[in-house]
């Protein structure tokens, strides 16, 4: 069924694709930063510190998205016993962790002038920190377990446990009283963010997604080279 995922064939694509993704990323991040830092208006209440949001929110979205993808791919890999899916998950994880940390740090920087504190143990922030710990566990598991069969099992268990946290992060602001504000962007109802601020936010999200794609392609390429060097035709 997954003939298309044979390493030889993918390698032809991954060994070249990252150049084009890099090119696209540079263009999109330039437009995004210009929009976010210069052309977008300041907020009526927060002033210029609203600009932190253009990094904070996309980073949080991407880190949640990547964790969900990792879990999904690991489960597909487990159900169909295809190791390639685990390799894709492994290559996705580092950029997810990076964006998770970016979201926590920028949130902290924004929190000081807005809320008056660097850190609060409210449900949203704490659950986001837990997600970072799950990312860390996942990546460490890949490093320390030598046995291939074992590492696939352990990383899958980590993703299954961690994915429960993802809806908790999303709905924490609705379920409980938190210091963190509820979501401004709703797909079904009207967003409470002005369109002049929504536009740079979308561009920055695209830029971060491209960056994740870039890191993923590089990582995945390395994994494929490792397999080639071992002289294995299939995963």
């Amino acid at each position: 069924m997954f003939k298309i995922f044979e390493p030889g064939r993918i390698f032809v694509i991954t060994s070249k694709a990252h150049k084009y993704v890099m090119f696209l990323f540079v263009i999109v991040i330039c437009i995004g930063l210009l929009e976010a830092l210069i052309f977008s208006p300041e907020d009526y209440k927060q002033g210029d510190s609203v600009r932190i949001m253009y990094v904070h929110v996309p980073a949080a979205w991407i880190s949640l998205g990547i964790f969900s993808s990792i879990t999904f791919l690991s489960l597909i890999g487990y159900i169909f016993k295809s190791k390639n899916f685990f390799l894709i998950s492994k290559s996705l994880a580092p950029s997810g962790l990076v964006f998770n940390i970016v979201a926590l740090v920028t949130g902290s920087i924004w929190g000081k002038p807005t809320w008056g504190t660097w850190w609060a143990w409210d449900a949203r922030i704490t659950s986001m920190l837990i997600l970072a710990l799950f990312y860390l566990m996942y990546l460490i598991a890949w490093r320390i377990y030598e046995d291939k069969e074992q590492v696939l099992k352990i990383t899958t268990i980590i993703t299954i446990l961690g994915i429960i946290n993802v809806p908790i992060i999303k709905y924490s602001v609705d379920w409980w009283n938190t210091l963190h504000q509820p979501a401004s962007i709703n797909i079904l109802s009207k967003s409470s963010i002005h369109s002049s601020m929504l536009f740079p936010l979308i561009i920055m999200t695209a830029a971060f997604a491209l960056f994740s794609m870039l890191i993923f392609l590089m990582k995945y390429n390395t994994e494929l080279i490792k397999i080639k060097n071992k002289g294995l035709d299939r995963l």
């Binding site: 208006p41 300041e42 907020d43 009526y44 209440k45 927060q46 609203v50 949001m53 489960l75 487990y78 159900i79 169909f80 002038p113 807005t114 809320w115 008056g116 504190t117 609060a120 143990w121 409210d122 449900a123 299954i160 446990l161 429960i164 908790i168 409980w176 009283n177 938190t178 210091l179 504000q181 509820p182 979501a183 401004s184 409470s192 963010i193 002005h194 002049s196 601020m197």
Partner: protein
């Protein structure tokens, strides 16, 4: 189409998920008291026994309720059902203002008086440029 083992593994995963979701739900339900970052004035009214413990109270700063004297700040936190009087001395965050969200940390004197030792401003989910805010205000 797929082998028996594939189906088995699929249903096993579904089962694992259902179990996990149920257990996490029950754990969070029983921990609700501790998961909330602050209590609303209505929650405070429902406290059975007043303990001398640090708590957080949050809500809106009532319009025209801020009174500043040389060393003290008084205001009212409301959730539009119940109110609580807050006294505080110290610096407030820039975004602290009337009609906006606030979280106060400190000790309860009784169910409607609160001694705050720290004030945090709670930002809402509205983002807009100043011109739009003015236009909305004129309406």
């Amino acid at each position: 189409m797929y082998g028996r083992k594939v189906k088995l593994r699929f249903f096993f995963i579904i089962f694992v998920f259902l179990t996990l979701i149920l257990s996490v739900f029950l754990v969070l339900k029983s921990l609700e008291e501790n998961v909330v970052y602050f209590k609303s004035p209505s929650d405070v009214k429902l406290i059975k026994e007043l303990e001398n413990k640090k708590i957080r109270v949050g809500g809106m700063v009532k319009k025209n309720s801020i009174e500043m004297s040389s060393d003290e700040l008084n205001f009212i936190i409301t959730d539009f059902k119940n109110e609580i009087y807050v006294t505080y001395s110290g610096v407030v965050p820039n975004l602290f203002s009337e009609g906006k969200g606030v979280v106060a940390e400190g000790y309860l004197k009784d169910r409607s008086f609160f001694n705050a030792s720290k004030i945090l401003a709670k930002h809402d989910e509205n983002y807009m440029p100043p011109e739009v805010k003015e236009a909305l205000g004129e309406k």
